[in-house]
């Protein structure tokens, strides 16, 4: 078996094990709706994590995504209240997110700055811009948004999916295609494997590096739109710390933080594992919410140690 598929296999096995555990332990756990809710409740996390997967595959990191989601929700709410057409507002925030990401990518690529710091400053900037718009939560009562928020797509067996969940699943499918069957995707893997080799191979390293952050910014904006469907409000404290959840989902999904190795499908399962932990804790009812953090931390540790085993013992510089 391909060694590189092993972390992904472990991730999927872990998810199945947790699902079986839940099914045995709790009545009513084993229903299609419970599993669809994993996607519905974590749709925005899934969307952001897909963008993050590309960034991490290229050997970078993007800490600005949580703040960018909040900014998207604030700008959407403001535009809608100003009477914008809802679809024009969505397009505007998507462009905003992509431009924000591209600017960060440009700084990282052109001036050879550390992605960690640039996106950290980007996070401050986006959060700060939210506060500049308003420190209060802005409700959204636009008819189209409310309709989209309440729409359910029936899937049979008394189960249904929201538009946000559907967007997340479609994005995962598109991203898998981009990652594994496009020039952009192959270049991302090559950069993560070794930037100078990628350059020597004549691959468009510079534009791809900017493109990766552009994609992550656009995904964050899309995640922000889906979150506004979910919350029906714009608020500067939406999605605090989401970037960590996204990174955790990517790592648990089997992507190496050093870059170059990983699968978008793994990220989907990473998100599902984060979701199922919360669902299990909710079903249990006696465990407090902070156990989520501790379990996620433990899983991160497990997967990082596992990755070190597969990587061999050649420490890469940070």
């Amino acid at each position: 078996m391909n060694r590189r598929l092993l972390p992904l296999t472990v991730t999927i096995a872990l998810f199945v094990a947790m699902a079986v555990f839940g099914a045995v332990r709790f009545d009513g756990f084993l229903s299609l709706q419970v599993f669809l809710n994993l996607i519905i409740d974590n749709a925005f996390l899934c969307i952001v994590a897909v963008g993050m997967t590309f960034v991490i595959l290229s050997g970078g990191i993007d800490l600005s995504v949580g703040a960018l989601i909040a900014l998207t929700s604030m700008v959407s709410a403001t535009l809608l209240n100003a009477g914008w057409n809802p679809f024009a507002a969505m397009a505007a925030v998507l462009v905003l997110g992509a431009a924000f990401g591209a600017l960060q990518g440009f700084l990282i690529q052109r001036f050879n700055l550390a992605p960690f710091l640039v996106t950290l400053a980007g996070m401050f900037m986006a959060r700060g811009c939210c506060y500049l718009i308003s420190t209060e939560s802005i409700p959204i009562d636009d008819a189209t948004y409310v309709a989209i928020a309440q729409a359910r797509i029936p899937l049979g067996f008394n189960a249904s999916l929201t538009i946000g969940g559907l967007v997340a699943l479609v994005l995962v499918a598109v991203a898998m295609r981009i990652a594994h069957a496009s020039e952009f995707g192959r270049t991302v893997y090559a950069i993560g494997g070794g930037e100078s080799s990628a350059r020597l191979m004549g691959l468009p390293v510079d534009s791809t590096k900017v493109g990766v952050y552009l994609l992550s910014g656009a995904c964050a904006a899309l995640g922000g739109i889906v979150m506004t469907f979910y919350m029906l409000s714009g608020y500067s404290l939406h999605a605090v710390g989401l970037e960590l959840d996204a990174i955790a989902a990517v790592v648990i999904g089997g992507t190496l933080l050093a870059g170059g190795v990983g699968y978008v499908a793994g990220t989907l399962f990473g998100v599902l594992i984060l979701g199922i932990i919360q669902t299990l804790i909710a079903f249990d009812g006696t465990l407090s919410s902070w156990w989520t953090r501790i379990v996620v931390g433990a899983l991160l540790l497990l997967f990082c140690l596992l990755q070190r085993l597969f990587e061999g013992r050649t420490p890469k510089p940070a």
Partner: protein, 347 residues
């Protein structure tokens, strides 16, 4: 003059001086110091006092960054240390009456610091023994650590109403705040240890080239472990100061985003994020810049929301100034405008 401007501390000191000058311009009473009931009072003292926890954490962060590491778990360690101290002293959820400490105060403080140092050691082990990237290794504790702190406090804010404990964050010694003494003593002793012994050289050599340092006989693993442990310990000290200052331990919010401020303070001070070059004095100045900026924004009556945007702009500016590519671009632009035909581009 040139030697003066090229001193590594020139830009940090210049920025701080500029901020202080601006503050006193807007608020004439800013620089006034008064002696009141045996304590020194004034805005400057206030800034120094409030900056103390950040200075302490940033000193630990400086050393971690100097050995090519990064510790993003310090905020969580602050929360853990505060929670442990509060529990050991015997804080409760809604106490406003004075309590008797369940354990002697020094045992409570020592336990909190020991737990914090153990957190640092854990990070160090993951980096050195398991060979993880520092940011990943400390991400684990950053995620789980706050959960552990919430577990300890039951997710509640624990009030500690025990006057001897207040001294750390609110007390005065010889007219100056105790927190400032702690930060000052920590800085002075670190400075002595790193400049009077070979340790400073070892740390620089590990940061410069870990492999070369190891081959040259520097015990890089042991030193790196110690550096991470110290960073955890420093975060623990900061946690004690913070919780003593607000007389409570808040697992959800204590030290929130502190890791980012600490990294920012280290960068502002002129320590290279690539490792090898570090300056403790610069870090102290960097922390003071952040606190002065915050205080200035508050005292100007500017909505505190602007604070984040200003901070972000500052980070971008500092990062670009530290980037060789950017400096070259600017130099080329200046030269280009001075003499229009520019033949060969310097590569």
């Amino acid at each position: 003059m040139k030697r003066f401007t090229q001193h590594p501390l020139f830009w940090p000191v210049f920025t701080l001086a500029l901020l202080l000058a601006a503050s006193s311009l807007f608020n004439p009473s800013f620089i006034r110091l008064t002696w009141h009931e045996g304590h020194l009072y004034g805005s400057v003292i206030d800034i120094l006092n409030r900056a103390a926890p950040l200075i302490v954490v940033s000193l630990g962060m400086t050393l971690v960054i100097a050995v090519r590491g990064l510790d993003i778990s310090v905020g969580a360690v602050v929360a853990i240390s505060a929670a442990v101290a509060a529990l050991m002293i015997g804080g409760s959820f809604s106490a406003t009456v004075e309590v008797q400490s369940e354990n002697p105060l020094w045992i409570a403080l020592a336990t909190a610091l020991a737990v914090a140092a153990a957190c640092g050691l854990w990070n160090g082990l993951l980096v050195v023994k398991a060979g993880m990237q520092p940011i990943v290794a400390t991400l684990i504790l950053m995620v789980a650590g706050r959960g552990i702190a919430q577990l300890l406090t039951g997710g509640q804010i624990i009030t500690v109403y025990y006057p001897p404990f207040f001294a750390l964050g609110n007390g005065f010694l010889l007219g100056l705040p105790v927190a400032l003494w702690i930060a000052g003593v920590l800085w002075a002793s670190l400075h002595l240890v790193l400049s009077r012994t070979a340790l400073g050289l070892f740390v620089r050599s590990i940061g410069g080239n870990p492999e070369a340092a190891r081959v040259a006989g520097v015990r890089s693993s042991a030193i790196t472990l110690c550096v991470y442990t110290f960073c955890g310990l420093a975060a623990g000290v900061a946690g004690l100061i913070v919780s003593s200052n607000v007389k409570s331990a808040d697992a959800n919010n204590a030290g929130q985003l502190l890791e980012l401020d600490a990294i920012l303070a280290v960068t502002l001070g002129g320590t290279a994020l690539t490792g090898g070059r570090f300056t403790l004095a610069g870090t102290v100045i960097g922390a003071l810049i952040i606190q002065t900026l915050t205080s200035m924004i508050y005292s100007l009556g500017v909505p505190p929301e602007v604070n984040l945007v200003v901070k972000a702009a500052l980070v971008f500016a500092v990062m670009l100034l530290q980037s060789a590519e950017f400096r070259e671009l600017v130099a080329r632009g200046v030269r280009g405008s001075l003499s229009k035909p520019l033949g060969d581009k310097p590569q």
